[in-house]
């Protein structure tokens, strides 16, 4: 092996394939603008991700009806990473190297993003990531349109503490990095607000956990200690249905022990009989029940697109809506789809969100969002009971974690750093090395 040469430009990799290579041959001509969609259509994550693929397709259709972008047609390039994490990396590479897409909308799980990240950075692509996540990341090539912990978890806890008077906390989550980190942040946050150790119960369960009897009865016991108790749930996807069923059947109603969930939205509720859950809470930046015309138009369009009267919308869909509009806005601003130009142009871009406000792209590649608290209704919708007076800016690095307290992210010149350490006054990790390489 010869020592490494400087990284190549993406177009260098562009190549029609010989027979043993893969996928459809890339087009040589300029137009149309290619939009990569990297969402699992099969495997365990298909449940959540297929609708996001449809959303982006819908947005592209709408854009084309309005005459496309820069006078060019938009074309969706859909691939299926099949809920297989290494395949995510491979497909991202396919999209960027073979298909030469100008932007990618995709990913749901943290692990899939982590797997794609190095590829997007290496091939200098654009990735819009629409799901609420654990933070602790800020990549030059990724735009996080979902909520960072400070845009979801912390406001929700504030609401429970101040408006509901909760003194005792159960942090229940699926055992992966998002719940782990979120719960760490919350623990630190709660303790900083004088909650004692014995008033916090943390519990982790495996993916798709289906037998909640023991845990729910523990929660019940934990809740009967004479202090108002609430469950903060970062339980993921499939595990929720049996969890809520068990809650309902063991007679824990929202009035006694409210559960506030960060991963349960309208989409998930379509799989649950919500009658027993009325009053349990969820914290998001968007609910389908938001009462604005923008939202109703979006819903109508969505129902058009899916042809299903009962089709629901949810927070990650709004995130894609925002992300897509930000990207088109930035492309117009830059007058080109060139990645570096768009990256610079998009910072500061502000587009309307669906809840009547505006979302702006921050220098740390996170966006501003309102935080809404909703109570589950018997029709599978949420009724909004509280929202932050103004929008909250996403914080890539949590102030409540040992390692990241001193880090900030700013991708504008001159800093151009995703993890600048204000104490050391230096840009740590990745970038340090990349700067050196140049």
């Amino acid at each position: 092996m010869t020592p490494c040469r400087p990284a190549m430009r993406p177009h260098w990799l562009a190549a029609p394939l010989l027979s043993l290579a893969v996928a459809t041959p890339a087009l040589a001509q300029e137009d149309p603008i290619k939009v990569g969609i990297l969402h699992s259509l099969s495997g365990t994550m298909a449940i959540s991700e297929t609708v996001l693929k449809d959303t982006v397709e819908m947005l592209i259709e709408q854009q084309n009806e309005q005459g496309g972008l820069l006078g060019r047609e938009l074309e969706a390039v859909v691939v299926d990473p099949a809920s297989d994490w290494p395949l995510f990396a491979e497909k991202a590479r396919e999209l960027l190297a073979q298909e030469e897409v100008d932007v990618i909308f995709g990913n749901w799980t943290s692990v899939s993003r982590k797997s794609v990240l190095p590829v997007v950075e290496e091939l200098n692509g654009l990735l819009f990531y629409p799901v609420q996540y654990e933070g602790e990341e800020s990549s030059e090539n990724v735009f996080y349109t979902g909520a960072a912990p400070n845009q979801q978890a912390i406001p929700a806890v504030d609401y429970l503490m101040n408006n509901v008077g909760v003194e005792r906390w159960v942090l229940a989550g699926t055992d992966y990095v998002y719940p782990r980190t979120t719960n760490k942040i919350l623990e630190a946050y709660l303790k900083s607000h004088g909650v004692g150790d014995d008033d916090i119960m943390v519990n982790y369960t495996p993916f798709g956990h289906s037998d909640w009897q023991n845990i729910v009865s523990e929660i019940k016991a934990f809740g009967s200690q004479g202090k108002k108790t609430a469950v903060v749930s970062t339980i993921n996807g499939d595990a929720n249905v049996p969890f809520y069923r068990e809650l309902g059947n063991q007679g824990i109603d929202a009035a006694d022990i409210p559960v506030v969930a960060f991963s349960v939205g309208e989409q998930e509720l379509t799989g649950i009989d919500t009658a027993p859950l009325v009053g349990h809470l969820a914290a998001w930046n968007y609910f389908m029940s938001v009462d604005t015309d923008a939202n109703y138009d979006f819903i109508d369009a969505w129902i058009e697109h899916t042809g299903d009267e009962m089709a629901v919308t949810n927070d990650p869909m709004e995130a894609h809506y925002i992300g897509f509009n930000m990207w088109t806005e930035a492309v117009r601003k830059a007058g080109t789809t060139d990645v570096d130009a768009v990256k610079d142009a998009i910072i500061g871009v502000s587009v309307p969100n669906l809840s009547g406000g505006h979302a702006a792209m921050m220098p740390n590649h996170h966006i501003t969002k309102p935080v809404l608290i909703g109570e589950i209704q018997d029709n599978g919708q949420f009724s909004i009971v509280w929202e932050t007076p103004s929008t909250v800016a996403g914080d890539a690095w949590s102030d409540y974690l040992e390692g990241s307290r001193d880090l900030i992210s700013d991708w504008r010149a001159p800093m151009e750093c995703g993890n600048y350490n204000v104490v050391r006054g230096s840009c740590g990790g990745n970038q340090a090395e990349e700067v050196a390489a140049e």
Partner: protein
Amino acid sequence: MWLTRPFSERSTRLFLGILLAALALVTLLNLAVPAGHPLHVSTYTVTLLGKYLSYALLAVAVDLVWGYLGILSLGHGAFFALGGYAMGMYLMRQIGDRGVYGDPVLPDFMVFLDWDSLPWYWLGFDMPWFAFPMVLLAPGLLALVFGFLAFRSRVTGVYLSIITQAMTFALMLAFFRNEMGFGGNNGLTDFRELLGFDLRSDATRLGLFLATGIALALGYVLCRAIVASKLGRVSVACRDAEARTRFLGYRVERFQLFVFVVSAMLAGVAGALYVPQVGIINPSEFSPIFSIEVVLWVALGGRATLYGAVIGALLVNYAKTVFTGVMPDAWLFALGGMFVLVTVFLPRGIAGLLGQRPRRRASHAQTSQPTAGESAA
């Protein structure tokens, strides 16, 4: 010397010839042919092929135990993943202080999950001379312990398959736990360099591809050598009539153990070569479904032929890549359909189509009853 025996076989020479020629060709088309030229092979494709080759090596390992020993292991993914993790841990340590938190020792996931120090089982993985042997030892040891228990108590056939499945499933759950200190579901990722070579440079990718190809060649020769030796014939004997073999004075369980461990180590090597090329290792490699898929590659290629395993692995994974690109909504149909059709109508796999010596048929009829020997008693 028993190791050189395979080179006297036409089939082996043919296989090696094709493989090495392919390696050379791809390298040439990648380096010499300018990008944009219709014949150019992009680095993307090279990496992809590299991944296929590592899968092929895994398939060969599985074929060795299934084809020649009659042990259907539904847990070989575990050995593959262990090898992968050993390599992954090495690559993690290579990141050094270039992680986002700039911690000189701890990997990022440990930093933000508040690990104050490196757990003992991570020690030493920063040194290749320790980490690389672990690629063999970790899976080998697991296979040794597991195999010793299983074969000693004569767990056979379906029972063995099921508990191998239980083994890999248990490991998957274990590695999902963040307390284990292997990065939980996120696994290990964001690798930088291997032995000083930048993993993101095309040269390194090509190098990895070639290394994998050579590893496959060596693995193949090793397996052929075993199969061609008297030990290989004893294995077949164990497969077809275990009891008979015992009455001939062979310690069947020891032969099974030997071959099983060798196969596990090969799987480990495959895993270690796989990780730097795909850039991530996570517990899903332990999932029983993956292990079953591997067996299916072998079945498709044609078991008890070794080269069949290679063909199967390459074909299925190529198909997977194509389908997920071209007809994403329906690739499971294609994949599932393929498996059904092959097992039902192509019991001897593609290798069977290529025309096998009659012994295959016999071996086939036999292996279908793993306990044929006993049934005779």
